[in-house]
């Protein structure tokens, strides 16, 4: 064993806080699963995609050609709430004022599991003094969750308001925190976004979580050709 090995071995010596195992075992709880909330959501869809998502009131409504979008949206929403999906593929059909469209597009770019502040989002769309207007635009988001306005929080670290109530915002953020975004298969050496049909077939024992596509590529995994995980996690 050379000198570097000895130094590193000493550096990595375990020194856990006292009674760690007992503390951890006392707090064993199931992972958050919000899929039971699905009955409280109402979705409206047109031929072009989902137009509105409501919580706690209203009924599903779809045009003849919009039924397939409604069904797909509901399916994806159940998977998301159950911690089995990190992204949505169902089309969204919105006609919004230019500013609000810009705000929601910027919110949609905040990666799953991360948060950013109203002020930072305002800066990103080139209106650094419009944090309050950004808050109003997000508050009027017709399709929360599908366009993730819950990932925008106040600059002081508190959650701030949410169209579906602060309690749900907390639960959604906790759910995202406990759900990995990029999952590789140890057998096929392919890395997918969590929620991709190929990812859902990976057995529990073969799941490998990666922080970025570059990390996965660095150890011999290739990105899935179906869900194309490029931007996420990078």
């Amino acid at each position: 064993m050379n000198e570097l090995d000895t130094t590193l071995k000493d550096f990595f010596t375990p020194a856990a806080p006292p009674r760690l195992a007992r503390r951890v075992l006392g707090r064993l709880t199931a992972a958050p699963d919000l899929s039971s909330l699905i009955a409280r959501f109402a979705i409206e869809a047109t031929d072009r995609g989902v137009r509105r998502l409501a919580y706690g009131r209203g009924h599903d409504d779809a045009t003849r050609g919009g039924r397939r979008h409604l069904e797909r949206a509901r399916e994806e929403l159940v998977e998301y709430l159950g911690g089995r999906r990190t992204f949505f593929t169902v089309p969204i059909d919105l006609e919004l004022p230019a500013f609000q469209a810009k705000v929601l597009a910027a919110a949609d770019r905040v990666p799953f599991g991360e948060v950013t502040s109203y002020a930072e989002l305002a800066r990103r769309i080139g209106h650094p003094r419009a944090a309050r207007a950004v808050g109003n635009a997000l508050g009027a988001n017709p399709v929360p969750i599908f366009l993730p306005c819950h990932r925008i929080v106040r600059g002081d670290g508190t959650w701030g308001h949410y169209a579906f109530g602060a309690a749900l915002k907390t639960r959604l953020l906790a759910l995202e925190r406990a759900t990995p975004a990029l999952v590789g298969s140890a057998t096929t050496r392919v890395v997918c976004r969590h929620g991709c049909p190929h990812e859902q077939r990976i057995a529990e024992a073969n799941r490998i979580v990666f922080a970025s596509v570059a990390d996965a590529a660095g150890v011999g995994y290739r990105p899935c050709r179906h869900c194309r995980p490029v931007a996420e996690g990078c």
Binding site: T7, P14, A15, G113, S185, T187, V209, G233
Partner: protein, 154 residues
């Protein structure tokens, strides 16, 4: 696997799991949280545990998955060193090593931690991360080279 066996395993591995998490995340509270989440995951999946797997591989894989996912959420500029008040390092060597470890890419850092905390072999490391033994060797060599360069330059 019954609850008692799992509790005994958790007692046995908690210290080593914490050490790996601490070196990955650089923060005591985050490390404890990572151990908590990894053990919660394993506890929930204990019925599907297959004895053909080494227990250590099973636990370390769960922990590695949690730590790597936690790092994904952090901004690239977030420092690895303790961000809040905590006991000061035991000497400048330790501080230099901590800084050197920051320069090591995530995957290599994880392999270094697993290798030195619990002495996992190349084959075991390959099983934990689902990669080939040769990749383990090259990643470890890369990680060590970066640390050595950082220490020599310090």
């Amino acid at each position: 696997m019954d609850e008692r066996t799992f509790a005994r395993l958790a007692e046995e591995y908690a210290g080593r799991l914490y050490a790996v998490a601490y070196r990955m995340l650089g923060h005591r509270a985050d490390a404890e949280d990572a151990v908590q989440r990894a053990l919660t995951k394993c506890f929930a999946a204990r019925a599907t545990y297959s004895p053909r797997w080494a227990v250590s591989t099973w636990l370390y894989r769960a922990l590695a998955n949690v730590c790597i996912d936690e790092l994904r959420r952090r901004r690239p500029s977030a420092p690895l060193t303790e961000r809040h008040a905590g006991p000061p390092p035991r000497g400048s060597d330790r501080l230099e090593l901590t800084r050197a470890l920051e320069a090591v890419p995530r995957e290599a850092r994880l392999l270094l931690a697993l290798h030195y905390v619990d002495g996992l072999s190349y084959r075991e490391l390959a099983a934990v991360r689902g990669i080939s033994v040769n990749t383990v060797k090259s990643q470890l060599a890369r990680g060590k080279a970066i640390m050595k360069r950082a220490l020599d330059g310090a």
